[in-house]
Symmetry: C2
Subunit: 624 residues, 2 copies
């Protein structure tokens, strides 16, 4: 199986002892998990014991680009961040692009494992094999953009690439994210894990190159990929100039653009105010991740009212939902401003917006009162209230403190039946797609090991009508178990482990992503996988993560939906009348577990399945 020169290196940074050491990436790990989130999962599973406090010194944070990151392969700029999530208590991972991941590879590292806890606020700089620990006392409290500039100035190197946290991560907000440039490793509160370790930032600069095992195969595989890009009916023509905001119109038309804390999907479709045409009135440019020929990232400038002059990279579709439709705010300039502010504060724009929308519904229902909000009129659509509360969340002021840890914690603190309106699964706030009208999305939300996470097994079939691996009826629950397994495993392998950009795969390579990854892996690393073996890597990740979660106490009952989705049918729009009943969910879960080779009753992986995947140690741990 192995024919080449994949000699990965891991940097282990211990903040307690202020030491850094180099380790070899075991070839077996590379073979089993490729890299990225798979690699991170392997180390997390092996090194973080059950019951570890996600915000304690024993949690670890693994930053892992993929094998192609830093090469000239398009759409390979990304990196996974993996740790135990303080938001869900389950596996937490988040992927980000930009330039930091490639720079980490130039410095020679396939992953950085951060462990322990610094005594005082600290930032770490990595220059090739040299690692330095710096006092971050003065940077503590800074916003993320200023923080990055201050570090560049401190190192006297404007080309240093930085990841950092903002005030939210410092204050251990469970929805705090990690920012690099104007991008985020957004979800599951991994910014709080950095904060809990007193780690403000990591700066990296590399002078090396990523080795290619076979230049000839590399050129061929890369050409094949670029050819597929060119042949895509949407990639360059539609997706590149529009980016993800094109999905606002699409989901609006399908009646699955969630709105007003999921109380008004279908009815409330502000495509005129927040859709693609509206977005384009604010577009002033594009940004590219490292060596990306597409550049889907849109720079937008707010033009009116108190938001005039505020620039953001984004808002992406999910943020247009979270700060827009979810909160009932149809002022696009406010959405732009909130996106920028969330990035500056280091708050996940998705969870933050969903949490504010949740609070708005509670306010409208009288469960939260002006006494709770400090007089802020927190009704749906009040953009200035949204901006105020967003800032207060990062600083844990007043109502902001109540909301700083996301919907689940807020509901627990508020009580009064508020959990009913808390739109999360396993603690992770729901993405935009209203699953009542997109059933595979629903099953993925319910079963993804990270909680309600569209990135784990995105059902592009239901949104774009692409008949890969087969044709799908978005409203039906039939066969969604098998589809969701396919989606989750393929995506885990290609996007999470090989850290390829999902947007490109969906638009240009939906049917060939495992073949593509296979060809690239051989060319770059010399490791030979069949496409099926690639997919198996994804399955391995999904199984190992599942075992991790079971070890943490998760059961079948956690694979579920917020009450609302199972009892309130959509009232209007193209998915009118749709709902996912408890029985629908049961049927889908049964099929899904069966397809996965897991115990159909409990959803626990069987020994046979785990052994098939080479995870017998995990089976031992489970006692199956």
């Amino acid at each position: 199986m192995y024919s080449g020169g994949y000699t990965g290196k891991i940097l282990r940074v211990n903040l307690t002892s202020k030491t850094a050491q180099e380790e070899k990436l075991p070839l077996a790990v590379a073979k089993d998990f490729i890299g990225g989130a798979g690699l991170g999962m392997k180390y997390l599973f092996d090194e973080v014991k059950p019951g570890t406090d996600a915000l304690g010194p024993d949690n670890k944070l693994i930053f892992a680009p993929g094998p192609f990151t830093g090469t000239s392969i398009p759409c390979a700029s990304r990196m996974a961040v993996v740790g135990k999530s303080p938001l869900t208590g389950a596996v937490g991972n988040a992927l980000t692009g930009g330039y930091f991941p490639a720079e980490l590879k130039f410095a020679g590292w396939d992953a950085v494992i951060v462990e322990g806890k610094a005594e005082k606020p600290t930032w770490v700089s990595i220059k090739d094999s040299s690692v330095r620990f710096h006092d971050a006392g003065s940077l503590w409290g800074t916003m993320t953009f200023d923080c990055q500039q201050m570090i560049k100035d401190n190192l006297n190197d404007q080309n240093t690439r930085i990841i950092c946290i903002g005030p939210a991560g410092e204050r251990l907000s469970k929805i705090a994210c990690i920012i690099n440039e104007r991008r985020a490793a957004g979800r599951k509160g991994l910014g709080a894990v950095m904060g809990s370790k007193n780690l403000k930032a990591i700066a990296v600069r590399g002078t090396g190159k990523v080795a290619i095992t076979s230049e000839e195969k590399y050129r061929a595989a890369r050409s094949e990929m670029l050819k597929a890009f060119k042949e895509s009916p949407v990639l360059y023509s539609a997706f590149s100039p529009a980016g993800t905001p094109m999905v606002v119109d699409l989901t609006g038309a399908l009646g699955i653009l969630s709105a007003k804390n999921w109380s008004a999907t279908g009815e409330f479709v502000p495509v005129d105010q927040l859709g693609l045409d509206a977005q384009n009135t604010r577009k002033i440019g594009k940004e590219h991740c490292y060596d990306c020929p597409v550049g889907c990232s849109q720079m937008k400038l707010a033009k009116t009212g108190p938001y005039a002059g505020i620039l953001t990279e984004g808002p992406e579709f999910e943020t247009i939902y979270s700060f827009g439709t979810q909160t009932g705010v149809v002022n696009l300039d406010a959405v732009i401003a909130a996106d920028r502010l969330a990035d500056e504060l280091g708050l996940d724009s998705m969870s933050a917006g969903v949490t504010i929308g949740f609070a708005m519904e509670l306010f409208e229902r009288g469960i939260l009162t002006p006494a709770d909000t400090g007089g802020i009129d927190l009704k749906f659509g009040n953009d200035q209230a949204m901006m105020m509360v967003l800032r207060m969340m990062a600083f844990r002021e007043g109502i902001g403190d109540l909301l700083a840890d996301g919907t689940r914690v807020a509901a627990m603190k508020i009580g009064k039946g508020s959990e009913k309106y808390a739109m999360h699964i396993k603690g992770l706030e729901l993405p935009a797609y209203d699953v009542r009208g997109a059933k595979a999305h629903g099953l993925n939300y319910a079963t993804a090991y990270t909680g309600a996470d569209h990135n784990r097994g995105y059902a592009f079939q239901e949104i774009f009508g692409i008949p890969v691996p087969w044709e799908v009826d978005r409203l039906s629950i039939e066969g969604k178990g098998k589809l969701t397994k396919w989606n989750q495993d393929v995506r885990a392998a290609t996007c999470d482990c090989a850290t390829m950009c999902a947007f490109m795969l969906d638009t240009a390579l939906p049917a060939t992503s495992t073949q593509n990854t296979s060809a690239l892996l051989e060319a770059v690393t010399g490791l030979i996988f069949t496409p099926d073996e690639i997919q198996k890597v994804g399955e391995r990740l999904n199984n190992l993560a599942k075992v991790f979660n079971i070890r943490e106490g998760f059961t079948r009952t956690d694979d579920t939906f917020p009450e609302r989705l199972m009892t309130e049918p959509l009232k209007d729009g193209a998915s009118k009348g749709q709902v996912i009943t408890k029985d629908d969910l049961k049927k889908m879960l049964d099929e899904y577990y069966t397809e996965r080779g897991w115990d159909t009753q409990t959803g626990v992986p069987t020994r046979a399945k785990l052994e098939e995947l080479g995870l017998s140690t995990a089976a031992d741990l489970l006692g199956v």
Copy 2:
């Protein structure tokens, strides 16, 4: 007089024709004006006709570093920006430090003359001798920090140095400034001149070095200077760690820290809230200009309330006055936030704060009402009102539009006797030093060719008690004419023409700045001047600027003070009872004109004086 290799080059950029051409800096200009503001004045005088609209295409903007900028001579990082001021109608100049000026020299340019008007928003990039014109349509509307980052990304060069305007300059606010990094060429509305030319930004990158005529003399002169720095009793021990905020305490103690639109100096001395100790509670670091061993610039981070997390380089002493004591705002975090916001918007923090303080007094007196302010409670001390109005000024919204052009224009529009409270001279808002208790400061404000400008002839003798060139009683008007001439000429020569940093000269070389400049000039350029000849260059600049202003219609009556300073004695504090009466002013002006060799009655330079300075053409123009 000339012994070496001073072969300056000027870049002339015409925005109308989108052309750039190289010109030789005539040796005669270098001899007469050295560089910087002197050079700019020469070109402005020769090329901008009387009566030219400062915001029309025929105004010019000259960016001119000094002969030492870009060398390793300490405190030589600066550059003058010169044009006709839209705020005063007189000569406008502003100096700035940082890294842009040195980079301009590395690119080979002693000055850039910008003329004409671009048809559409444009930015210009200079890389060594290559000049490119770029469409700035997408950058128009951006804040200054984002604008700089967007340009770096566009050029794919994070080491490019940029000057730019913000929303205020685009909207031709007459108090708009020009920003480079986090610094400003602040005063006299030169940002509006850029805006009027549709010029959003200039980016520069140079790969060359500044030539040194005599390395040996250079080393000797530089050593001499560094020795004087080390021997200074205050430079490294007090000024470097504190920066200009140390002057808050000093002027507070002297009872000359102006407050509440100059109605409360002496009484209102919030040293506890805004003084040096308070400032240091927010200090998180320092910044240096190019190759500066001192680094007086203080990075401060707001910590409380809605301002928490806001970072600024500053606030400098004058901004602590303008957004602090002048507006009665004693919330230091608000002052920090206002400083940052002014920089982002591209508004001169001094004029903006003074104008808001002016509006606050009018509001308290009922001359402005809530109907005028759109309901904003614009009373002294209301920090949130200050922040709102500041933003509105840059965007010309509501009350902001009324105030966007500074106190003089606002008073004209408001009427109702408001001019009485408009604290400006020749249209330029007053700096912090209350001249009733510092008479040479007063005479300098009244006579400086740029309006009320502490930078033209700063009377350090009155503030720091330094007995150079002689001992001075700050409360007396005696001899202040002679002193002001000395201050203005020495400073014009060393700081404005040779573009040396005034802070260093004041603290380390007050008695030897002309000798120092003379030695450095010979070492770097081969041009030989005696110290007296250096001072003469300053006198030449002051005379030529005076003639320019007379040509524009200025007369002796413009060399005056706001009414308040001549009629209301200071009510409390260490300068209690002090005032500058009309008679005091007359006496000081008479002495000043006489010392200058100008007509004592009219304040017009005599032919004899102009011919002595080699300015007979100017005498011809005046008809004297």
